[in-house]
């Protein structure tokens, strides 16, 4: 990161190739389409480039990166939401596809995660997918460690309930 700040092109390339996969996973888990996650990844790197002076050597890098990634996602969410509010339906909706026979007993993990409130899903993703520590998640999201623990606990409870319900239905 320091070499990137000093305009070393090799460092910039290495940073992009090393950090893009985990950041992409962070976006992908919160997007409907892969192409959206790729757009977010591009936007993320442009913002990192603009904000690179705000990284100070010696400070933890992951909270800095994920705080910016989080902001990119929030901005995109707002933009999409506002665009959706202004959309006008012009075409007929396609007919409903024939219902597939139920094969899965429990919903896929991505659907389960998407059923969580944004703040809980985000904390869970940062802890379990991105592998950040409680302290790093607290720095990334700008809340206390206690609040991170509480959100994670609620998310686990909610997932446990849903998984239990899925299991009951299948019996």
């Amino acid at each position: 990161m320091v070499a990137y700040q000093q305009s070393d092109p090799q460092a910039a390339k290495a940073l992009v190739s090393q950090l893009s996969p985990p950041i992409f996973q962070f976006f992908l888990a919160q997007c409907r389409h892969r192409s959206d996650a790729e757009d977010l990844l591009q936007d993320f790197w442009l913002r990192i480039h603009k904000a690179r002076a705000t990284y100070r050597p010696g400070e933890p890098l992951l909270p800095w990166l994920y705080a910016i990634a989080r902001r990119v996602r929030v901005d995109r969410y707002r933009k999409t939401k506002s665009a959706r509010e202004h959309e006008v339906l012009t075409d007929q909706l396609p007919e409903k596809a024939a219902r597939e026979p139920a094969r899965q007993t429990t919903p896929p993990i991505t659907d389960l995660l998407k059923s969580l409130p944004d703040s809980q899903r985000e904390v869970l993703l940062l802890l379990k997918v991105s592998g950040l520590s409680l302290e790093e998640v607290a720095r990334t999201t700008g809340v206390s460690i206690g609040s991170v623990k509480q959100k994670a606990h609620r998310a686990y409870e909610s997932l446990r309930k849903r998984l239990g319900r899925g299991g009951e239905k299948s019996q």
Partner: protein, 223 residues
């Protein structure tokens, strides 16, 4: 390079290799050396210096008339409280300029505590509670306080621009209160009216107005 980080093993679909190459090419095309922001202590000192210098200059022009009527105890308590909150507000601003930094102070809570604490102190320190010539004496104070808050807001904007605001609404609101506190400090040095109602409404009013302006600007920037 970035040997100070340990990344967890990544599972799941990787991003498109061509997209990564494209991004890397975009970044390297506009690569220029940048100087990292100074430490929190330096930024905090800069913000506090803005407060002290502007308060001094702002009060020097119309005159330090309050110093002639305030007792030593009143000065120590009132100016001490203003300095304390200026320090806390500048710390809260700096915490929000650096993405992913440890955030100890909550801007909304700090703003409420500052308004309540300074308000209570004013009620305790100034025993005159009359409302004579309330508006005619108050408007010039509100005007001077707001002008000083506006000037310090403009200067602080330069400082804020060096950071990357992950929460513009919170950051600009808290900076608004900080700028408003400059207005309160100028009036504390200049205004010789030791009437609690006057200070509460017209002096602290400048801080409230600046905080509200910060909130509105921040909300606009956060859209």
């Amino acid at each position: 390079m970035n040997d100070d980080i340990t990344l967890p093993p990544v599972e799941g679909e990787p991003p498109d290799a061509a997209a990564i190459e494209r991004i890397a090419a975009q970044l390297t095309a506009s690569l220029k050396p940048v100087r990292p922001l100074p430490s929190d202590t330096v930024l905090w000192t800069v913000a506090l210096s803005i407060f002290l210098v502007l308060s001094f200059i702002g009060a020097k022009v119309p005159g330090f008339k309050a110093l002639a009527v305030l007792s030593g105890g009143q000065m120590a308590l009132y100016f001490g409280a203003l300095l304390l909150f200026a320090g806390l507000f500048s710390r809260a601003v700096v915490e929000r300029m650096i993405p992913g930094s440890k955030q100890v102070l909550r801007p909304a809570v700090l703003s409420i505590i500052a308004m309540a604490a300074v308000g209570l102190l004013v009620l305790l320190l100034f025993s005159d509670h009359s409302a004579a010539r309330f508006v005619s004496q108050g408007i010039p104070c509100l005007r001077l306080g707001s002008i000083c808050a506006f000037v310090s807001g403009l200067l602080g904007w330069r400082l804020l621009q060096r950071g990357y605001l992950v929460s513009p609404r919170e950051t600009i609101s808290v900076y608004g209160f900080f700028a408003g506190l400059v207005g309160v400090a100028v009036l504390a040095l200049h205004c010789p009216i030791l009437n609690s109602l006057h200070v509460l409404v017209w002096h602290l009013g400048a801080m409230l107005l600046a905080g509200l302006a910060g909130f509105l600007l921040g909300s606009y920037a956060d859209r």
